[in-house]
Subunit: 343 residues, 2 copies
């Protein structure tokens, strides 16, 4: 009935997809290039037809031939504020830089604010051969990108721990596991009410940091102390600290999900005349450069995000050269004990 | 003699350049695409032939036609460490993001470590139509990029104060001028020996910060205090502070060329038992988010780098739409007086 059945070995073409979906070739092309002027319903029909025929913009591009784009794509959905303040991104990008410089590849960044644009963006970058593969960061709870990118047959390396359902190689930092050691250290110092200032629960790494803190307390037979959800910004950390200090029971130790919130917390605690570490212990996560320069110096967990960016990029480049790559690489993390916890 | 003289209105082609330089078309192409396998002498001859004929890869690309690349290029020559630690870049990129998101353009980043690769990179990105224009940051003393990019007929917006010899529009921050107010504030507090921890003199903005501090002291009839050159990193700031404290005369106030060095300096000063601001005043530059959260809070100059990135990008996009744009835009800066200078 349809053309592709006549010779099952023939590669599907954009015409096959168009005829199966009952649309023009232009509509198929636009669907995979930003979706301008195509209704959501038509896009869904076209995507279904493409999936049934196992046609992807990247297989089309490969059929056309041509050299590599010599570019690695990153589609970022973090708000501008977090791009600016969070230490992960510049450090990770510095690592990406160190891997790309020697081979003369570019990093192509796209910034998006909603799911539909995000998906169209991946399709467009691959479909127009603007990139050879992607680095995935800021993993979300039940991240839909794994499925999108599998369908696109894209080359991908994931930065972070993806959990189940990810078929791409990933590079994660062992830093999170050091949260167990950090929590045990606070318990060993005699603390029994240990609070947590969490990150946004939509982010996998924020959930993971909270979970490890909670598990370690449970293993020691302790109830988790109060939890306030912050947003990873300094201002959010200050606000969360006021809330903890006004609440009851007042904790004797606070583990903040990142250093930016912890350093802002130190300042709020000092303003209130509470001494760190004598009256209250404070710990963070990330080991940003200023953590050893605040007073008192901040106990934290060091994650080498630059190295993570470098290894993730090198792994993607190896994949693009069709070399075998490991499914999982873990970069070590380190507990940094400093004055803020009485170390 | 040569073909282009037959009809002076005819656009020069790559063949014209090849024949004038006595090389193959492939050699011309390679010269403007990374220079692989072409000797420096041959590249110079080919570039001279192209300049004489007024041929550029971008005019060639325009002749070929095709839509816009929908991408803005940034070729970065800063070392990975500075990319990671300096607050300018992530803030600027966050501004670039906010301008690109709504129009669906990408940011294409290339990282280079030497002048030859840098130049080839600009030529390649334009020649292969990977970008529609460039944002220029990290302006250098006698920056060669203005001439390269003029020859390439590239669309460019400069972030920073370019000084003479720049024909491209630029967006600068008025922050540097606030250094006058900052220095006058220190003088008004009674300080007579005011030191400076400078940034690398190869960077225009580092030179400018030092110059404004020096001029303001001279206007007040004061000798400039000791100067130590740092590298804009926290570690460099700590080292410079030790040097100042060991030297003679010991300053009663220090103006650091950025906040990262100043915050590290605060920590070194506290370790030595010197009280800020009672025994010594400290000021920085940038107003990074943590400057209001260190103890004592840091007096500094706020530069809105995110807004700078946004305006620079919007200006470039307007240029790409062939709209008229102002030659110069200045974003305001603000003096932020805080506890570290007794304010």
């Amino acid at each position: 009935m349809t053309e592709e059945l006549r010779d099952p070995r023939r590669r599907p073409t954009i015409s096959d997809v168009a005829s199966r979906a009952g649309v023009s070739k232009g509509a198929v092309s636009r669907t995979f290039n930003g979706g301008k002027g195509i209704s959501a319903g038509t896009m869904a029909r076209i995507r279904a037809a493409a999936a049934e025929l196992n046609w992807t913009p990247s297989s089309a591009a490969r059929a056309v031939g041509g050299g590599p784009a010599k570019a690695v794509g990153m589609v970022l959905r973090r708000p501008a504020e977090l791009l600016e303040l969070d230490p992960f991104f510049p450090a990770f990008l510095a690592g990406v830089e160190s891997a790309l410089t020697s081979v003369g590849y570019a990093a192509v960044l796209r910034f998006v604010s909603d799911t539909a644009t995000e998906r169209a963006c991946y399709e467009q970058l691959i479909g127009e051969r603007r990139v050879d593969g992607f680095l995935l960061t800021d993993l979300r709870h039940r991240d839909p990108r794994f499925e999108w990118l599998s369908r696109l047959e894209a080359r991908v390396v994931v930065a972070g721990s993806p959990g189940r359902g990810c078929t791409f190689p990933w590079v994660s930092t062992g830093g999170a596991d050091k949260i167990r050691d950090l929590t045990r250290h606070l318990i060993a110092q005699g603390h029994r009410t240990i609070a947590h200032v969490a990150g946004p629960p939509t982010l996998r790494h924020a959930r993971r940091r909270r979970q490890l803190w909670e598990e370690t307390l449970a293993e020691a037979g302790l109830e988790p102390g109060p939890v306030v959800t912050g947003d990873f910004t300094a201002e959010g950390g200050a606000r969360a600290t006021h809330e903890l200090l006004d609440g009851s029971p007042r904790p004797t130790a606070v583990f903040y999900a990142n250093d930016l919130m912890a350093i802002a917390g130190l300042s709020v605690i000092a303003e209130r005349g509470i001494r760190v570490p004598d009256d209250m212990a404070v710990a963070g996560f990330d080991d940003i450069v200023l953590s050893s320069y605040v007073t008192p110096a901040l106990t934290t967990v060091r994650c080498d995000y630059r190295r993570m960016g470098q290894i993730a990029t090198q792994t993607l480049l190896a994949q693009l050269r069709n070399e075998g790559v490991p499914q999982q690489i873990t970069i070590g993390g380190e507990l940094r004990l400093r004055r803020s916890t009485g170390a």
